[in-house]
């Protein structure tokens, strides 16, 4: 994956609207990014394969800014970071979950894809509902139903990584400080 297609930091600063794509519990990394033996699959392969096994309509229908909404243990399985990047390549702006597997949660932070805990969300919304995520107020509004629910705050140190645009930016800054600036363009 060569670039981060959806600018990450804004998802934590301004309200965002998009369609909800609803999935169940324990959506594993094989469904997010198949083929763990390929270290660097092409962006196109990653995008087209994302969640296809669970919802064949997802990759064709998803629009930039949409939300993936899932149950418990989202992203369980392997440590592949492509599981996060595949969602970003599909244009997903945030993932709203009941709970998230720990490596996937950390990869989401590293690549600055907001993955936020919204207790009870899978029962509260329906697939296709229009949602608004307002992270500063820690709220998700279901615009279709006119209901709201709360999301859990990220820790300040994690928020700082999101605001930097991901761990890569943190590494670059620290390496530059240590005398290893990036190559000139």
């Amino acid at each position: 994956v060569t670039a981060t297609p959806v600018s990450p930091a804004y998802a934590l600063t301004a309200p965002r609207r998009g369609r909800a794509w609803l999935f169940g519990d324990s959506v594993d990394t094989n469904q997010l990014a198949a083929g763990g033996l390929v270290a660097t699959p092409s962006d196109d392969v990653l995008r087209r394969g994302c969640l296809r096994t669970l919802r064949p309509d997802f990759t064709d229908g998803v629009q930039p800014g949409d939300f993936v909404v899932t149950g418990q243990n989202f992203g369980c399985g392997s440590s592949r970071q492509t599981a996060v990047e595949a969602l970003q390549l599909c244009g997903v702006s945030a993932v709203l979950v009941e709970s998230v597997a720990r490596i996937h949660r950390r990869n989401s932070i590293a690549r600055a894809l907001p993955t936020l805990i919204a207790p009870g969300i899978t029962a509260a919304i329906d697939d296709g509902d229009e949602l608004e995520l307002d992270y500063p107020r820690l709220l998700v509004t279901d615009l279709t139903k006119g209901t709201t629910m709360s999301i859990e705050a990220l820790s300040p140190s994690v928020e700082a990584i999101y605001r930097a645009g991901g761990l890569g930016a943190v590494i670059t800054a620290r390496l530059t400080e240590a005398g290893f600036p990036p190559d000139p363009d």
Partner: protein
């Protein structure tokens, strides 16, 4: 108040030097970084503006770089990836670079003595957690976190709460680690240890083989754990030379646990995880009679000598059922040689087993399972498309221990292995 193993290891590694408790957020010093899929890490550096990959490394002797996942390279692109990782390894003078050896990274980390009790180790594969069987705090990380560790030798952690798991029952003359962890997943769910550390203790934890402990610690990630610890006793001497007793980390008697679970293998017996989840578990009798097309034995979970030895014992003088493909893959070249030296390979070949190379392919492909087929496997996961990708998302994969896999290969269907066990 006393400390758990996780609290002790993270206290020792806390960069601020302060003693820590569950819930504390810390920056920790890393003892070892195991890297596979190096091209992804190199690409992460390229994205940051370092066109030739990482400009530096925190400690040339604490990075373990392995090309194990694509060995032998199946195409020119993979060969090129391996070749260029060698260029970077030379440029950065890495002391531990495994260029072309077949095997599973985790077994190679053990075989080459890169894991010691009490260490904090991270790796770009979720089953790095298996080193907890040697009393190390080990866990899987993603590419960009590995890029961070590669440069700075540290990483941020939240100190986890710990669940104590008391294992009871009589040890057996065959591997039971898979059955124990499958049972726990079936009872408590595939996220029961999410973000927690697990401490496996009790009489069966003490009496079981190191290989069984490695199976259980490996699968700690399949129930969501951050770490999965066993005690450092004399059994770890198989992989840790000149172990120093002071390295072992033991919990204080008054350590605080978030939960305690007790399980006896005597009441558990052989377990099977049905498709497509690790926690979709039933006693083997409830899956008995399911006809199989393929059986697989290997992986970081169950590809060691005693996993293959039990299959050889069961298949001696018997044949793999007609129409069944039975693939066996030793976890490393060292394990392979052990199997050859003990005559297991010959026995299994006579029975009709097909040997696959040592390595991670046994857990993925080749060895496709088609949508209309059924496979029983001792490997790590039974997710949709595990053995063939998206096109094979309906292929039925059952997970079980080595004895149950071997029995199914003989019978051509899932069956209680007891009658085949000598």
């Amino acid at each position: 108040m006393g400390q758990t193993i996780a609290e002790k290891v993270l206290s020792r590694h806390n960069l601020s030097g302060k003693e820590v408790r569950a819930g504390d957020a810390i920056d920790a010093r890393i003892d070892g970084l195991m890297v596979i899929n190096y091209q992804a890490l190199r690409a992460a550096y390229r994205r940051m503006g370092y066109k030739d990959g990482p400009p530096t490394v925190f400690d040339r002797s604490r990075v373990f770089l392995m090309n194990d996942h694509v060995q032998p390279p199946p195409n020119p692109a993979a060969a090129r990836d391996n070749y260029s990782s060698g260029l970077d390894a030379r440029r950065l003078d890495l002391a531990n670079f495994y260029y072309s050896e077949m095997g599973i990274c985790h077994q190679m980390m053990l075989d080459y003595g890169h894991v010691r009790p009490g260490q904090l180790i991270v790796g770009t594969d979720s089953h790095t957690i298996s080193y907890g069987a040697l009393n190390a705090a080990a866990t899987g990380i993603g590419t960009d976190e590995a890029a961070y560790v590669w440069a700075f030798g540290e990483l941020f952690f939240t100190v986890p709460e710990t669940i104590k798991v008391l294992l009871g029952g009589a040890p057996r003359g065959y591997p039971i680690g898979k059955d124990v962890i499958l049972y726990l997943a079936g009872q408590y769910g595939d996220a029961f240890a999410q973000n927690n550390a697990l401490e496996f203790t009790g009489p069966l934890a003490a009496s079981m083989s190191l290989s069984n402990r490695l199976t259980i610690a490996d699968h700690a990630v399949e129930v969501g754990a951050k770490f999965g610890f066993f005690d450092a006793d004399e059994k770890i001497g198989r992989y840790v030379t000149e172990a120093d007793e002071s390295e072992a980390v033991r919990p204080d008697p008054d350590a605080q646990y978030v939960r305690e679970i007790e399980v006896s293998f005597d009441e558990v017996g052989f377990q099977v995880a049905k498709p497509f989840r690790f926690d979709n578990v039933v006693p083997v009798a409830e899956a008995a009679g399911v006809r199989i097309d393929q059986a697989r034995l290997g992986s970081c979970a169950n590809g060691r000598f005693e996993d293959i030895e039990v299959a050889a014992r069961m298949l001696a003088g018997r044949k793999v059922a007609a129409g069944v493909r039975f693939y066996v893959s030793p976890a490393s070249m060292s394990v392979y040689k052990q199997c050859v030296d003990a005559g297991l390979v010959s026995t299994l070949l006579e029975a009709g087993v097909q040997f696959d190379r040592p390595g991670c392919t046994i857990c993925q492909t080749p060895g496709v399972v088609l949508n209309e087929e059924v496979c029983i496997s001792s490997t790590t996961r039974n997710y949709r498309g595990r053995f063939g990708g998206n096109e094979c998302a309906d292929a039925q994969v059952y997970l079980a221990g080595p004895a149950t896999v071997a029995a199914a290969a003989i019978a051509g269907e899932i069956v209680d292995p007891t009658e085949f066990l000598p």
